[in-house]
């Protein structure tokens, strides 16, 4: 199997429409609510207000207050209520207003959502989705910019995804809602309106655990997910102009993640640069780097490179400096290429 064979963008989209990432989220929710009465949506200000980013605009009007509703200001009760609803047979979508505010719901996520299937021998399960905007680039300071996904990838029992295109946003959310496990669905907020793309009119899902090759190449594998993806593509473009052929991979799904596709790519290119915006120590890319060097050691012509967030709280004024940008990515690629 070559990488492109399962490339979702290759799916026929005769009647595609161009939408942005936040519209993709709204559409996915609406369509799933339409097809499954068990789907309910709640969180802080998701009702009349339509969410602080308007991801749920119009849904309360359309589906009624008993399916789309505001909650008290407590992430523990939002996540916990979702667990209880899921156990009792619903398919809840719980919105956490910002990923930075998952903290108060942390124990519900790690002790209840992640473990109830395991600890009960499958007698009770929590199929549910926690949606939350994450990542930087919006001048929000450290409580509206963080990328906490690594905490959740380190928590067995949870699945973790982060789309970077409208197509994936819609398809992954639908797949998550139709699955049987708790899924943390991170929405890269700086791409809400910036990421535009086609989605088919027909129903489709993007299976969890499959990466997408955004650009094929032979000299270096450039791997990322979420908000940094446009910068990866920009960097690859710049390098292409210099005659360097970069393969760009969007992981899309972190747990489970697509080891096969990543390893196949690195075995081909011999070089890998991993990009994320979370702080470096104990971040998810550490696992990807580890597996690459473990499984493709003999193919590597340079150390696996990383561009990540700094190990500091996310700053306010230096919002843009903190983030990996195309230039920093290019520099990391050049370093790997010149090794």
């Amino acid at each position: 199997m070559t990488a492109t064979q399962t490339r979702p963008e290759a799916a026929p989209m005769t009647t595609g429409r161009t939408i942005n990432l936040i519209q993709a989220v709204t559409e996915a929710i609406a369509e799933e609510m339409e097809r499954d009465q068990r789907v309910v949506l709640f969180g802080e200000d998701v009702g009349a207000r339509g969410g602080v980013f308007m991801a749920t605009a119009g849904l309360q009007e359309r589906f009624g207050k008993n399916r789309v509703f505001d909650t008290p200001l407590s992430e523990a009760s939002i996540v916990g209520a979702a667990v209880g609803m899921a156990v009792r047979g619903l398919r809840p979508i719980a919105e956490i207003q910002f990923a930075d505010y998952m903290g108060p719901g942390f124990d519900q996520i790690i002790s209840q959502a992640a473990k109830i299937r395991y600890r009960s021998g499958g007698q009770f399960t929590a199929p549910m989705v926690i949606r939350t905007p994450s990542g930087g680039g919006v001048k929000g300071g450290h409580h509206h910019s963080q990328s906490p996904e690594s905490y959740y990838t380190h928590t067995p029992g949870l699945k973790v995804v982060m789309p970077s295109t409208p197509y994936d946003a819609k398809g992954l959310l639908k797949a998550a809602l139709r699955g049987e496990d708790p899924v943390i669905y991170f929405e890269p907020k700086r791409l809400y309106r910036a990421a535009k793309g086609e989605v088919p009119d027909h129903d489709y899902v993007v299976k969890l655990g499959e990466a997408a090759i955004r650009r094929e190449g032979s000299d270096l594998s450039l791997i990322g997910y979420g908000g940094v993806m446009p910068d990866l593509e920009k960097a690859a473009g710049a390098l292409a102009a210099e005659g360097v052929s970069v393969e760009v991979i969007d992981l899309r799904s972190l747990v489970p993640w697509d080891r096969d596709r990543v390893l196949t790519s690195v075995q081909k290119t011999g070089r890998a640069v991993l990009v994320s915006e979370a702080p470096r120590i104990s971040n998810f890319m550490g696992e990807v780097a580890y597996v690459i060097q473990e499984q493709a050691f003999d193919y590597l012509t340079a150390p696996v490179g990383q561009v990540a967030g700094f190990d500091t709280p996310y700053p306010y004024v230096q919002d843009k400096v903190y983030l990996p940008g195309a230039n920093r990515i290019v520099a990391a690629c050049v370093q790997a290429l010149n090794y």
Partner: protein, 369 residues
């Protein structure tokens, strides 16, 4: 009609067994004998399991001795298999009285192949699907927000079930307790919250736990009624929990019941010798003298249906026999092997777990270097 927010715990039967208010008709001698049997069974279950623990056949046990009236009385307010229950780790007597088979409880404590939880949790963290007795987490009060959600789902589905959620006095200090209570109140969800106030959280007394006079008063913060009941008076527990459950069931929103009782034994085996450091023998003795089983026996005697020494001995022997049989039966199923580690993490087996499983298989079956 039963009043919330009474200054004193509601009581039907005095400690000497005389009714302090007329007993409702449903408490026939047969019903009372049955309650007595369940309470005694629970007490002996504690004794037997502590023996097992001493023998090293299990590793953790949290007795409910002294709290039987609360748990059995509550069980009788639940429509088993219809209502849903989010219990806490001291609730095996609640489970027994709800009809969770002793075999299940024992298997879980022993972590054998007969354990429907598959030996994954430490002893005393039960789950029983048939009874909608939801899997217990050690994380104190973490069951409260899910219980609120469970009740919200019931309301959404338009079913006439309720959700019962139990916890200790210590649990009420956790943030999640508050979050769940407030959510249930705001959603007017059909949830009955029951505090088994045994006055200690390990070594921390209820006085150090909170400055509020009582636990039930905290219901005011959530706009729900708070009932205060003598948790060692099984009639009172049944009357108050039954009434509160009916109110909840008929759409009046959630309620909180505080059952005032006492843990006469140690917190857990880990705590067995430590007790003397934090509470006096006199305090324990005073509560032993208010034993809920004795109180019910006194009532039965008062009503002219005494429990004879022979009845008692026979019931005890019966429980011991049953426990012994179930222990042997459970142990005979053996302990699950390494394979169970990778099941039920997810509904499927993702690649990384498949690889880890293969690694462990090779190691455990000697297929490695």
């Amino acid at each position: 009609m039963i009043q919330p927010f009474t200054p004193e715990p509601i009581r039907f039967v005095a400690e000497d067994g005389t009714p302090v208010q007329p007993l409702p008709e449903r408490y026939t001698p047969e019903v009372l004998r049955d309650l007595h049997r369940l309470m005694l069974q629970a007490r002996e279950f504690d004794r037997k399991l502590i023996t097992l623990l001493r023998q090293g056949r299990t590793t953790f046990y949290a007795q409910s001795s002294g709290m039987e009236a609360t748990q059995v009385g509550l069980a009788r307010s639940i429509r088993v298999g219809h209502d849903w229950v989010w219990p806490y780790y001291r609730d095996h007597t609640l489970g027994l009285a709800m009809g969770v088979p002793m075999a299940e409880l024992i298997s879980q404590c022993l972590g054998t192949n007969s354990d429907s939880c598959r030996g994954r949790q430490m002893p005393h963290h039960f789950a029983a699907q048939r009874q909608n007795f939801v899997s217990i987490s050690s994380s104190i009060a973490s069951q409260v927000p899910p219980a609120a959600g469970n009740a919200m789902a019931q309301k959404y589905l338009g079913v006439d079930e309720i959700t019962v959620c139990t916890f200790g006095d210590g649990a009420t200090s956790e943030g999640d307790w508050h979050a769940g209570m407030n959510m249930a109140g705001a959603a007017q969800a059909p949830a009955l919250f029951v505090c088994e106030n045994n006055q200690w959280a390990i070594s921390t007394s209820i006085r150090e736990q909170t400055a509020s006079e009582t636990i039930h008063i905290k219901a005011k913060a959530y706009g729900m009624p708070g009932y205060y009941v003598d948790g060692n008076d099984i009639i009172a527990v049944m009357e108050v929990c039954g009434y509160a459950a009916e109110q909840v069931r008929s759409g009046h929103g959630p309620a909180l019941v505080e059952c005032l009782t006492y843990r006469v034994g140690s917190h857990s085996n880990a705590d067995a010798d430590a007790e003397k450091h934090y509470r006096t023998r006199e305090e324990v003795d005073a509560w032993l003298a208010r034993d809920p089983i004795t109180r019910l026996e006194n009532l039965l005697a008062h009503l002219g249906h005494p429990v004879t020494a022979e009845d008692r001995a026979a019931m005890i022997a019966q429980t011991h026999r049953e426990v012994d049989e179930q222990v042997l039966a459970a142990e005979a199923t053996g302990q699950p092997d390494w394979r169970i580690m990778f099941e039920d993490v997810y509904a499927d087996l993702p690649d990384h777990l498949r690889q880890q499983e293969a690694f462990l298989r090779a190691e455990q079956t000697g297929g490695r270097a």
